[in-house]
């Protein structure tokens, strides 16, 4: 690792998508007119697939190396070098980022292809793909950037793209609002992120090693020990700052509010950005900086608690939602919660593992829902669906598979990854029974709402109106192919990370050079089995309730929804009223302050300014008063008197002379007196 291997092809992983974005962005409108949508989709998909291939090459390249040598870097040019701040535009790849780029380019590629079919009717097709490519570019930048600033560029870049894609159908006010919400909430997170960067940089700078590149930070991380600012350990504070960023990106409490609204975007976007890749950036970042987090136990516990809380919180909300995509959105939030739980117990490998598997099945679920929505002609309310399994078999089966996966059915990917996390939550030195227990409950809820969705959508009678039913159809190949691949992935992806009892995890080995060995106090394998069974049991319980409620309908949902007078139900259904509260406090608050500021400007500062002008004017008016009024009065009195003979001689002006002379003489006398008084 001291002597990273220089390469010069990594840049293409990043730039190919950018190329596609630029071409489509600048010329898209024309191309679409001239050459039609095929050209567009070609320009869009080719680079991503290219990037994927290069990533695979890079992956093999890494594999060929010794584990501790697995590290490639591609330096372009110095981006900022001022004083001790030296930032290059450089891309690096190590086992961790390798996993990420494979996920991003791979799943991203599939979603691109899927979109060809999904977006086919849209008239600003080119714009969609331009942004999709741009997003891929930004995401890859985020992953491959070899320093925090570059990562931040990607970090904000993906935010921008998600903003643009959420508001893709900008004619509708709701969508744009959702976009704004996403961007601003993310900005709040980024705000923390930047501060984290500053803190790290300056603290290291004091030690003479100011830097923002990951490798050097890792090298000098120990210098942060014992450093304090405002009585808090720098490591803790910095990691907390960065974690704020993570909560923003990865929709964790308290910044989770934007993700559900983000479902306003086209479904592929939801799949790619708001499920598979972008939202996991937070997890990636923590894993990337695991050495810092490991130095800050307090932060770790915060991360873990936030993670598990979010997991439960989102799950409870998901129980009650009827919008097919919103359910998935909340499940995403809660799954991300699991990842943070994993990261929070220093099980970074587990977190990344879950990240990967989740990418598969969640993408699959979203795309599936997309194809459902596509078939239902845009209908998203599950209560209007049902019995679709006949109409769209591919969608149905793939969907089922991924539901099983996310539900934690044994031998599916979800099972292994989630279980890994739960086990670590139980066993690692940062973990605890409580964390594990909550996690398990969450798993149960997950199983419930996912199967609820499955049953509502695909089983039972179709509740849609005839018009829609007639048009029910399976989606075209270009859409179903990716589904199939992803479904396979959501089974198979798990097998590279088998738990100890099934022979240990390849995945963990692969990441070892990054995270190093995490020897947690190894409880006996039996306890792991016990826990596993336990969680499976809970999940099964969830499944059965859903089964009886929505398949057999032998238990009426109202039983539960009317608990405690429906208080819980309303609470969940209204997402704990967080949106309302935030709106009341932050949006309203900002606007209020804005109005106050404008008011101050207009009525106070300008008043003072104009006021001084006015006083001047007033004084001069007083002079005028003396001139015009006093004098004129005299003049007119005088006028009648000066030449007494005169009605003729009215308003002759000699009178004011006297008053003036008064002034003069007064002044003179005054001067003399003053002179006597003060210097006599």
């Amino acid at each position: 690792m001291e002597h990273p291997i220089q390469t010069d092809y990594l840049r293409w992983i990043v730039f190919l998508p950018l190329l596609g974005a630029v071409v489509n962005g600048l010329l898209g409108a024309q191309l679409q007119k001239r050459l039609g949508k095929r050209a567009i989709s070609l320009i869009a998909c080719a680079p991503v697939l290219g990037a994927f291939l290069i990533s695979v090459v890079a992956f093999w390249h890494l594999l060929a190396l010794e584990p501790e040598q697995r590290f490639l870097i591609d330096r372009l040019y110095p981006w900022l070098s001022l004083g001790s701040l030296k930032v290059d535009v450089a891309f690096w790849i190590d086992p961790l980022s390798a996993v990420m780029i494979l996920v991003v380019t791979g799943i991203g590629g599939l979603i691109h292809i899927y979109s060809i079919g999904y977006m086919h009717e849209d008239k600003s097709y080119w714009r969609f793909f331009a942004f999709l490519n741009l997003f891929t570019f930004a995401m890859l930048l985020l992953v491959l950037g070899d320093n925090l600033l570059l990562m931040f560029v990607g970090w904000e870049g993906v935010g921008l793209c998600s903003y643009a894609l959420i508001g893709f159908w900008y004619q509708d006010h709701v969508n744009t609002t959702a976009g704004n919400k996403a961007f601003i909430v993310n900005r709040v997170g980024d705000f923390g992120f930047v501060l984290g960067i500053f803190l790290i940089f300056w603290t290291l700078d004091q030690q003479g090693h100011g830097t923002v590149t990951f490798r050097e930070i890792e090298k000098f991380a120990l210098l942060l020990n014992g450093q304090e600012i405002w009585g808090i350990g720098v490591a803790t504070l910095a990691t907390l700052f960065l974690f704020i960023g993570a909560t923003g990106k990865s929709a964790q409490i308290p910044l989770h509010v934007w993700l559900p609204d983000a479902m306003q975007g086209p479904t592929p976007v939801s799949a790619l950005i708001h499920a598979a890749t972008m939202v996991t950036a937070g997890v990636y970042m923590i894993a990337r900086l695991h050495f810092l987090y490991s130095m800050a136990p307090f932060t770790l516990s915060v991360v873990a608690v936030i993670g598990v809380t979010t997991a439960l919180f989102a799950a409870t909300i998901a129980l009650t939602q009827n919008d097919i995509k919103r359910v998935l959105a909340y499940s995403t939030i809660s799954q991300l919660g699991y990842m943070f739980l994993g990261a929070g117990v220093a099980a970074y490998g587990a977190a990344i593992f879950h990240l990967m598997t989740h990418a598969f099945f969640k993408a699959c679920l979203f795309l599936g829902s997309g194809s459902v929505i596509h078939a239902m002609g845009g209908e998203q309310d599950m209560r209007k669906m049902g019995g679709l399994r006949h109409a769209m078999p591919y969608t149905f089966w793939t969907f089922t598979v991924s539901v099983l996966a996310i539900g934690g059915t044994p031998l599916t990917a979800g099972f292994f990854s989630k279980d890994e996390i739960l086990w670590k939550a139980f066993s690692s030195e940062h973990g605890s029974q409580a964390l594990w227990a909550l996690g398990v409950v969450g798993a149960g809820l997950t199983a419930f709402y996912m199967f609820r969705q499955l049953f509502l959508v695909f089983f039972g009678e179709c509740r849609a109106d005839h018009h829609v039913q007639e048009h029910l159809h399976e989606s075209p190949k270009v859409m179903t192919m990716p589904l199939v691949i992803l479904a396979i992935g959501s089974i198979a992806a798990g097998w590279i990370g088998l738990p100890e009892i099934f022979g240990g995890s390849q995945f963990a080995k692969w990441l070892e050079p990054v995270f190093g060995e995490h020897h947690e106090a190894h409880a006996s394998a039996t306890s792991e089995e016990l826990l596993m069974i336990c969680s499976v049991g809970v999940a099964a319980f969830g499944f059965f309730i859903a089964y009886f409620m929505y398949y057999r309908a032998s238990i009426s949902p109202e039983r539960f929804s009317s608990l405690a007078g429906g208080a819980f139900y309303r609470l969940f259904y209204n997402k704990y009223y967080v949106d309302e509260i935030y709106h009341a406090i932050f949006v309203r608050g900002a606007l209020l302050l804005a109005r106050i500021g404008a008011w101050i400007d207009q009525y106070i500062i300008d008043f003072i300014v104009d006021g001084s002008a006015k006083t001047t004017a007033f004084v001069s008016w007083l002079n005028g008063l003396f001139d015009n009024y006093v004098v004129d009065w005299m003049v007119n009195t005088v006028a009648n008197l000066t030449f007494w003979a005169g009605g003729k001689f009215r308003r002759v002006q000699t009178g004011n002379i006297n008053s003036y002379l008064y002034v003069i003489l007064g002044a003179v006398v005054l001067a003399i007196i003053v002179r006597l008084r003060y210097s006599g």
Binding site: L85, Q171, F191, L195
Partner: protein
């Protein structure tokens, strides 16, 4: 030509003005092209300067020095260094583009372009002048054209705006005159030569003056002079209590003039502080700029952002966003760190290009819709996609999106700020969120949403307008990707500047 390139850049527009005055009154196109030709050579020379500027040399370059009024040791003394080069480039570029932005002027064309060229000379002069007297002359020379340009070709409340601008600035500049003279008579022998005055900076006493209120404040001669100069500059920046002329002036001024105002004139305030207050009065700077200036800058950032959020008039919103963005400059200057001060000057340049774009864009839509009411639009993206695209670039650059120039300078400023005053840095960074807030909100209300039937048939942005916008846009992107294109010019001089002040920091 190359040995006195700066004089050429400064006075060529004035020559152009004379030509314009000689042209027949009603030959609009002759006049327009003549002025375009008058502003082109400075631009070419600017490019030449950019190529031949010695980036390693922190000192003055392209110096010209001739005696002017020997009796009072007044010289014609111009030259540039890292502090001014970027501003010179910016001025050359913007004045050239603004000629084309003013193409639509059809009332008193001759007078307009003549005054504009005079203004150009004034601006360029301010940035190259190194003799205090010369500096002051140029500084004031800008006032008159500005007054008329706003007052004659401005909007409905133009007279109020013009006179407000005029009074404000004159007040500041007369204070400055006093300060200049005070320095002049303290120097030995009497001189207006800035380099000389800097060399003698130890002469300016710092022991507290005997009389109220300075005895209380512990202000010495140097502090008082510093304050006098600072107020003069703060009015131009515009720093918080002195900023209210800006919205009025911007709203009333014609598009091109707003661009010049925001792009060049505002910079003169901060430029002056860097060029004069910092090196000439280092101890006072250390005492007063430290914290005070930083806090003022932060306040500008947040206050301006909030005011912008409340605006109904698109142009006024942009104006207040300038107030907010200039706050970053002040904050950066006050940090006395390499990153901070470089970021500040870079921010001056970026703000010039970005806000220039914004005003041009507002002008484009105003020419078509004849109002700037934010609520009055909607759905423009569907009607004028290209226009919207360009706007998006400008807006996102203005809210500091990575990959665009604004980001670099803001990050540098905040990075610098963190080391000196973390709290201010946090507040300033929160300004970024606010900026995103009001800009996105504006985009949503103006460009997105359902198409407004009233403006269904608005024509798309035309070639001339694009010609004024695209170069700026390209610069914005290039600087975002490769900031050293400009940073290299500044670095050495600014570091030297820091070195002067830092020793006095308590």
């Amino acid at each position: 030509m190359t040995e006195n390139v700066l004089s050429w850049m400064t006075f060529f527009p004035m020559a152009g003005m004379i030509v314009v005055l000689l042209l027949p009154r009603d030959r609009y196109n002759w006049i327009r092209w003549a002025s375009a030709l008058a502003t082109l050579p400075p631009l070419i020379l600017a490019v030449w300067l950019y190529a031949n500027f010695d980036r390693a040399n922190p000192g003055l370059q392209f110096v010209e020095k001739y005696p002017w009024i020997p009796a009072y040791n007044i010289q014609y003394f111009v030259g540039i260094d890292g502090i001014s080069i970027s501003m010179v480039l910016l001025t050359a570029l913007l004045s050239f583009l603004c000629i084309f932005a003013s193409w639509g002027i059809d009332k008193g064309v001759k007078g307009y372009f003549a005054l504009f060229l005079l203004l150009d000379t004034g601006m360029m002069g301010v940035f190259v002048a190194l003799d205090f007297f010369l500096f002051y002359i140029f500084w004031e020379v800008m006032l008159l054209p500005m007054y008329f340009l706003i007052g004659i070709w401005g909007g409905p409340r133009r007279e109020y705006a013009a006179i407000k601008f005029f009074l404000y600035t004159l007040f500041g500049s007369v204070l400055m005159l006093i300060a200049i003279l005070a320095l002049y008579f303290t120097s030995e022998p009497y001189t207006f030569d800035m380099t000389e005055l800097i060399a003698q900076s130890s002469k300016y006493g710092t022991s507290a003056l005997a009389f109220w209120p300075f005895d209380r404040l512990g202000w010495g001669f140097q502090h008082v002079v510093w304050m006098a100069l600072f107020i003069g500059f703060a009015i131009k920046i515009p720093a918080f209590p002195f900023h209210t002329w800006l919205p009025d002036a911007h709203v009333e001024a014609p598009t091109a003039i707003s661009v010049i105002l925001a792009g060049v004139l505002l910079k003169m305030g901060t430029y002056g502080i860097l060029r004069i207050n910092y090196p000439m009065l280092p101890e006072a700077t250390a005492d007063l700029a430290y914290y005070f200036l930083g806090a003022l800058g932060t306040w500008n950032i947040i206050y301006g952002a909030f005011c912008a959020m409340a605006q109904k008039d698109l142009k006024k919103l942009v104006a207040y966003s300038s107030v907010s963005h200039m706050g970053y400059v002040m904050l950066g200057m006050a940090t006395f760190t390499t990153q901070g001060i470089n970021g500040a000057v870079l921010q001056m340049f970026n703000h010039g290009t970005i806000t220039g774009m914004l005003f041009l864009l507002v002008g484009v839509i105003y020419d078509r819709a004849h109002h700037r009411d934010i609520e009055g639009f909607g759905g423009l993206a569907a009607i004028m996609p290209v226009y919207t695209g360009v706007t998006a670039v400008a807006f996102f650059a203005s809210m500091g999106l990575p990959g665009l120039s604004g980001f670099i300078s803001e990050v540098l400023v905040l990075l610098g700020a963190w080391q000196k005053y973390a709290v201010l840095c946090i507040l300033g960074a929160s300004g970024v969120v606010l900026t995103a807030g009001y800009l996105l909100w504006t985009i949503q209300r103006v460009y997105l949403g359902p198409i407004n039937e009233k403006y269904k048939s608005l024509p798309e942005i035309n070639g001339r307008e694009l010609f004024t916008l695209v170069p700026l846009g390209i610069i914005v992107i290039i600087l975002g990707v490769y900031p050293h294109a400009v940073l290299d010019l500044l670095r050495s001089s600014l570091d030297q500047l820091n070195e002067i002040v830092i020793p006095h920091l308590s």
